[in-house]
Structures are given as C-alpha cells and as structure tokens.
C-alpha cells in the first residue's frame, strides 16, 4: 500500500528584484534552513533531495545541481533535478511526494528557486537562431496572442485582467514574502499602466524576482510525529502531471487538453466532483492577469466562456467563495523556478493554518497548480488538513 505523504516543513525567502546580499547557494540555504526549522529537523534527517529551477540560461549558471550539493547538505545522498520549464517546481514537489509515497525515501527535502537578477529571462526566451522561428518578445509576447483569442471567444469585459491584477496585488499586501507591495495600487493605476504586449499591461504582468521555496515531505510516521508535537502537517490528497506537444497542429492553447486532463485526474483521485464548492482555496499559476479566467475554465471551476464572471463577481477574492491566490500569486512574486512550488507550498500553508494575514479561515482542502513552457506542462496537487 502506498505511503501517505505529509508536508511537515516549509521555508521561503523574501522575494525581491535583486537579492544582492546572498549568493545562489546562500539563497537556497536560507529557504532550506527555514523549512528544516519548521519541521524541527536537520540536513542529517533528510534521505534525498529533489530540486528544480527554470532553464539554466535564465540565470546563467549551468547544471547548478552539481555545485549546490554541498550547500544543500546533500553530499552522498540522492539528488534529483526536475525540468518542466515554468511548471518545474510544481513537478519537483510531485516527484518528491512520489518518492515518499512509493516508500523509497522517508523524508525528502524539495526546493525550487530562481535568481532572475543573474540574467535576463526576456533575452533568454528571445534568442535568435537562424534555423528556428523566432519568439519575438519573451513569455508575454508568446502568451498575449492567446489571451487576445480568449477575449474574443469569451466576450469577457475588457477590464477583467485589470480586476485580477488589482486583486492579486492587494492580496500581496497581506504577504510579507511577496515581491511587489504596491500600497497605492488602484483600478485606475492598473488601467493606466503601459501596454507591454497589447492587450497585456505592465501591471497585469508578473515581476522578475529572486527567491527560493523549500518543503520537507515525510511519510505517515513523520506526519503523525509532527501532528503529535502540535505542528499541523498538510496531507497530500492527490497529485497529477500532464503534458502535451508544444507544436501540435490543432492544439487549443487557450484551454489546453493537458490542463483539463490533469485537473480531471487530480480531482478524481481526491474524490472531488465540484472543485468550486469542495476546495477552500486555490493557488494557481497566473503570470499574466487573464490566465485567471482562462484557468478557471480549464480547471473546471467555471463553464467554458464564463470564468471571467467569477472574477467580476468577486468569487476569487480573498473573501469570495473560492479564493484564488490569496498570497498575491505569480503576479506579485515570480522567481520562475520557484513559482510553482510557491503555489504548492502556499496551498499547504493554508491547510496548516499558517498562512498569516492571508489565511483563509478554516481552510481544509487546497489546490496548488503550475503550468509551463508553451502552456504544455501541467502539475497540480490537492492538500488537506486531514489525512486522505
């Protein structure tokens, strides 16, 4: 029988444009030590390490897993690195979870990070190679045409994206770790910000951040021990990953099939038939504002073409019936290779009752979600305060 998996330790760094005062290994150790302290463990207690970050040239440090082994206290222990573009640290958490679930390791430390200040992701995503078609303007340039397509299909009001950005950035004011704390933000200030990739405005776009997020995952005995010591674990109820070919003719990039299939598998495993009713809070990868309504539909929280209504009705607000991204989300902090794990870990913090000022009262079941690449990689988990 598969082991139950518990999240017993969580640690993160303050997200910021340029951290500056720590090296890359120092950044990771900061998150790792905080997770170990939360779990009341040391590196000696860790059986294996599962790490993930975005493509190496986003930060200009090649195969960092080799040079980071000592800093992570992983010498002589198994180290796995996961690669799934922007969804990577969601997938990384799932690989860690499955190593515990399979009974291969009892306690695993998993970490995702990015030091975006070391390089320029826009450049890295837009390198001209004569034998390939050119992506002409980074991730925003890639996704904006699909957002325009969603707007045309759904007839959503033009200001849907503004409302999402305003909500997430206001939520970020409740999260001390968030990169952007825009105290003066208003509907008007978002609306009047420059169009970077028309129809996407500057204030509807994620920042470039430095940061790391770490979790300690353990088997049922470890989870029980934490609970007995008064430290509420988050129990993993279901995990799912799906992918689809980036360059397949006929693929729907507004609502990709892999995302639908991933959510369907996840909710089936977790015994969830109505995610909007049964899930208390969701942390979903929304790097550009319009991805909230798009993913509301893709994940089955709303019928196709109606996701924007939940945003306009305030359903996804922190006091709504299905809060999305109370932490401020990717729109407020984006260390790319950590952004997926932040979603997974924020979901765990919610069901542990440890989310601080952005805690959703009584949250017992939470969704963490990440996507990446050309919207072709998906990773998701559901965590709960009770055992599955």
């Amino acid at each position: 029988m598969a082991e139950r998996v518990a999240v017993i330790g969580i640690g993160q760094t303050k997200y910021t444009a340029t951290r500056g005062d720590v090296s890359l290994p120092g950044l990771l150790r900061e998150a790792a030590f905080r997770a170990l302290e939360d779990a009341q463990l040391t590196f000696a207690d860790i059986d294996a390490f599962v790490i993930g970050k975005a493509p190496d040239f986003f930060e200009g440090v090649m195969v960092p897993e080799y040079s980071l082994v000592e800093a992570l206290g992983a010498v002589g222990k198994p180290v796995f690195r996961v690669h799934t573009a922007g969804s990577v640290s969601g997938s990384t958490a799932i690989v860690a979870s499955q190593l515990v679930e399979a009974g291969i390791h009892g306690t695993v430390l998993t970490i995702g990070w990015e030091m975006q200040s070391c390089s320029e992701a826009m450049w890295a995503l837009s390198v001209t190679m004569p034998f390939q078609q050119q992506l002409v303007a980074g991730a925003g340039g890639y996704f904006a045409p699909y957002i325009r397509q969603y707007m045309q299909r759904s007839n959503a009001p033009d200001d849907t994206g503004i409302l999402v950005a305003l909500k997430d950035r206001q939520n970020a004011l409740l999260n001390p770790y968030a990169h952007l704390h825009e105290h003066g933000i208003t509907y008007e200030s978002v609306r009047d910000s420059i169009m970077l990739w028309d129809p996407l405005r500057y204030s509807e776009t994620c920042p470039s951040s430095d940061g790391a997020f770490a979790m300690v995952l353990s088997n049922e005995a470890g989870g029980d021990a934490a609970a007995a010591a008064g430290r509420q674990p988050a129990w993993v109820h279901a995990t799912a990953m799906r992918s689809e070919p980036a360059l397949a003719a006929g693929r729907d990039q507004v609502s990709p099939q892999a995302g639908k299939d991933c959510a369907a598998s996840l909710f089936k495993q977790a015994g969830i038939t109505n995610p909007r009713k049964e899930i208390d809070v969701a942390e979903v990868y929304v790097p550009f504002s319009w991805y909230e309504p798009m993913w509301l539909e893709n994940l089955g929280f709303a019928e196709e073409g109606t996701g924007w209504q939940l945003t306009h009705d305030g359903a996804t607000a922190i006091d709504g019936d299905i809060p999305w991204n109370p932490s401020g989300g990717v729109l407020s902090s984006n260390p790319i290779g950590a952004s997926g794990m932040i979603r997974f870990g924020e979901a765990a913090l919610q069901v542990r009752g440890m989310a601080g000022a952005h805690q959703i009262d009584g949250a017992k079941l939470a969704l963490g979600h990440a996507y990446g690449g050309a919207a072709q990689f998906y990773s998701m988990w559901v965590v709960g305060s009770d055992k599955p």
Partner: protein, 193 residues
Amino acid sequence: MSDIQEPAPIDLPEGLWSQPSVDTSALDGLDEVEAVQLINTPAKFVYDYTPGIARTRFLRAIAEKRLVGQRCPETGMVYVPPSGVSPISGLPTLEEVELGLDGTVVSYCIVNLDFTGNAQEIPYVSALILVDGSDIPIYGLVREIPTDEVRTGLRLKSVWVEPDEMTTSFENIKWWAPNGEPDVPASDLVGYV
C-alpha cells in the same frame, strides 16, 4: 471586489539565516563607493547544427524563396517548419507540401517593451500567422500597417530579403505585410490557435 485595508507592516518570521557573522572591516570607509551590482560579460558559443532531413529540406527551400511543409499521414495536418515527425500520431511526415508565400493573422499582440537583444523598433506587432496550405501558425512580425489596424483574419504576404542576401535561414523573411485581400472570417480560423 473586496475592500482590503492596508495592513500594518509585518515582520518576517525569525529563522535560521545562512550567513554567518563575518569580519567586514575591509569594507570600512567604502560607504561612499557604489557597489557593483551587475557586470556584462560578452560570451560566445559556436554551434555545429545538424538540422535533420525534414528541417534541411525546409531550410534549403527557404533559400530558394519557397516554403515547404510536411503532412501527418494520420491527421492530414500540414506542419511548418517540419520536424519530420507528427507530434500527434508519432509517424514520419514523409509527404512534402509546397506552401504559399502568403498567410493569415490568427492572433497577435503589439509589443511595447524593449529588451536586450531586441532588434525591432517598438511598438511592433508579433502575430501568429497561418501560412497558406499549412495547419499550424508560426510567429512573425507584421509591418507596413499601423499597429492598431492589425486584426485577426488580416491577409498577409511575406516580405523577403534581397536575392543576394538569401541564406538557409528563417531570417530570409524580413516581415509580413498586408496583401490587400479581403479578411478571412474568424469562423474559418477556429482550431488554429
């Protein structure tokens, strides 16, 4: 929307910090010196690129001002640029298809953001363009039209470099420009985005 009051500043929780206390006396008196935050280090990688059969045929065709795709034997979809295999069926795409040099905008964005390595004057239009005869759009620049007049369904012609500048490169197509034909109705473009 919820009306959130701005919270009082929150202190980060106490934690184990990775930085041990170190002797920083060597930095004394350097307060006025601006810290180095960023250095540019030019780097160069030289690649030998082996395109494979399908991409070789595509690149040789583009050097002759032709665009060629390949058809999936199962779905019938025509891929450009071809990789030689259909990502849907997994089968080799052995049938080569001569494509047109015109195309249609299926979606687009207007780029207002400058960044390292960008060679375009902003604003410019980046569009998903469905080349005539193909079934998967490619990204391309749209010029010779005001940015606010670009639209889904707009018909385009490819604009090429001078004949003596032609190489086996995507850069042979400088950009795309309106070809004057009537717009394609949106209903004809369903399934291509």
